[in-house]
Symmetry: C2
Subunit: 362 residues, 2 copies
């Protein structure tokens, strides 16, 4: 098989790191081991991913002292208690501050492993091997790590950069269709919010992407990571521009909140949320109806929901939007579209247009 | 009363902060409030300190939304679970990422509050008001925050700098004699390891210091923080020079470990440990017996232990020294004295001299 790889180097001064994206990367020991400084390596994964890829990753680490911790799979385990299990595993193995943690799995494994790495002995090395499309395009860039608290999602964590991200798109072979589509929602988001050329590519290639054409996936993941990196670079601590990455998310979070987490996958809620944001942009006269239909068509081709099937109370939904982390003094700040491929942080939309969108969708 | 204050400005680039040291500082609202950016302030303290100083600090914050969390007192509560109580308090009060945490208490409160501040919403503001002599000279500088794990002390945490440290030496009025002496052990450490002039000052003024002469305490705390800052500045991530701060600590930790934590206060164990390090230095021919006696005399005047009253097994003690965090591949790295006021990281001492010191003390 041809060995095909693209590398994105994130320039973050002394925190710079490469993102390698390609096929068959989990057979290339050097790619991984060149980023490991000490001798001790802890692989953190979960019960779903371990049977699929743990042995493969361990085979790359023959020269190291390797230990593993296999966590239960699911967002409900993204807690401080689970991170403590990682600490217990590290201490039981007597790993010192020269050790390296490898996150092998999706976003939940990555977020927890990153936070454990940030906090173990006040910071040890960390490498990500994301195995879902969502984590490949979302968690590879930005340094966000952390866990949920019963009173709020992602409320505990750290900004902490990995030494390297290894994205083997072959791991997507074992991802189920629904999870794959949910990841594609975030890919489409990058096109919609800031890159019209990428959006046109996606429109053209969406069918092949849904058939999991690897070369196209590599390009799409590379472009998504590049776009995210450019936005994050302009705003390392989320004071302004980074908010663009929340396109569709305020609506999406409100959907997840009112329907209960787990009804929609995150990417599915974001899909509906992006369409709601597009429709509000149209009502504000920023884009036209045809453009809204284009967005809807793309999401549908990606097997993503574009409407809400459950009954949601209008007032509950508004309240959920108001408690979003990005709300300021109860004012709902939304990301709207100026045109296709160009989003902005909109605060002065007409309230009746927002009400209209919610009425149309609920 | 005369308002007397010394300020040490720590230059850490965009993480710079002042340490204000003086009397009657907890009546000066401006000193505190100028370092608070948002409107929400959470005071973290414990059941011992709250009745003494919580109302006083709250009185300085009339213009802010103030909440408090009062933790149980004691090193055994320095856990991830207790830090989670701080997160719960923050989320219950609906505090956002613009909030400020104030640590009001000793080292345990400071370490946990700092880690909570580092981790809440991936980092919020943090101010320290240390109320014990040990925390005033030890926790004010260096940015170490964290908690213990059942399998190891201080194994979980972050490097995180406060916005300001407010040291009101009047809070030492309520500190019991044993705790005060234990703090003085760390003050003496700074003289011994790197500042012979300070050591001479301490020898001259130890009686007045033990009578809690406030002007002398302010000077001693200022000098200790300055010396620590200079060492830390040369070594922000503890690769080399910072190890000097562990003078007496490898012996001290082994004492705490073999006797069980709580038999000695940390400063008391360090007192014996410093004398053991001095004796080893003498056996190595680096300092003379008279200098060892000078050190012993100073520690005794500070009401600190200079010998071990309990029975400890020689082999247990050696094992405890070998598992110290600073050991490398089981080699015991010790801080020895070249001369009074000048310590260095010693690796090539004679093993039989180390055995002799342990035999003499156990």
């Amino acid at each position: 098989m041809q060995y095909f790889m693209k590398t994105l180097n994130l320039d973050l001064g002394n925190k710079s790191y490469p993102i390698h994206i390609g096929q068959d990367l989990l057979t290339q020991a050097d790619l991984l081991t060149q980023h490991i400084q000490g001798r001790q390596v802890m692989i953190v994964t979960n019960t779903t991913v371990a049977p699929l890829y743990l042995a493969k990753v361990k085979a790359l680490l023959a020269l190291f002292t390797v230990a593993e911790v296999i966590l239960p799979d699911g967002e409900q385990y993204k807690t401080l208690d689970t991170v403590n299990e990682i600490f217990t595993a590290l201490l039981t193995a007597r790993f010192d501050r020269s050790c390296t943690l490898i996150a092998l799995g999706g976003g939940v494994v990555g977020d927890m492993t990153g936070f454990a790495a940030a906090s173990y002995q006040r910071g040890v090395n960390f490498i990500q091997i994301p195995t879902t499309l969502l984590s490949q395009v979302d968690s590879s860039v930005g340094g966000k790590t952390g866990v949920n608290h019963p009173l709020g999602k992602n409320m505990i964590g750290a900004f902490y950069q990995p030494k390297c991200v290894l994205i083997d798109v072959d791991t997507l072979d074992t991802l189920d269709d629904r999870q794959y589509s949910a990841g594609m929602a975030e890919v489409i988001k990058y096109g919609l919010l800031g890159n019209v050329d990428f959006l046109l590519d996606l429109q053209q290639n969406i069918d092949a992407l849904m058939h999991r054409d690897k070369a196209l996936i590599i390009k799409a993941v590379y472009q998504s990571c590049t776009d995210k990196a450019n936005i994050v670079a302009q705003d390392e601590l989320e004071s302004g521009k980074r908010a663009l990455l929340n396109f569709g998310h305020t609506f999406g979070h409100a959907l997840e909140n009112t329907l209960g987490y787990g009804t929609y996958l995150h990417g599915e809620a974001v899909s509906v949320g992006m369409l709601m944001a597009a429709e509000l942009s149209a009502l504000e006269g920023l884009i036209n109806d045809e453009e809204v239909q284009q967005i809807k068509g793309l999401l549908q081709k990606a097997q993503l929901p574009v409407s809400i099937n459950s009954k949601i109370d209008h007032q509950d939904f508004m309240n959920a939007m108001r408690v979003d982390k990005k709300a300021i003094n109860g004012e709902i700040r939304l990301i709207l579209m100026k045109k296709l491929g160009q989003a902005f942080i909109g605060n002065d939309y007409q309230q009746h247009n927002l009400e209209q969108v919610i009425k149309d969708f609920l």
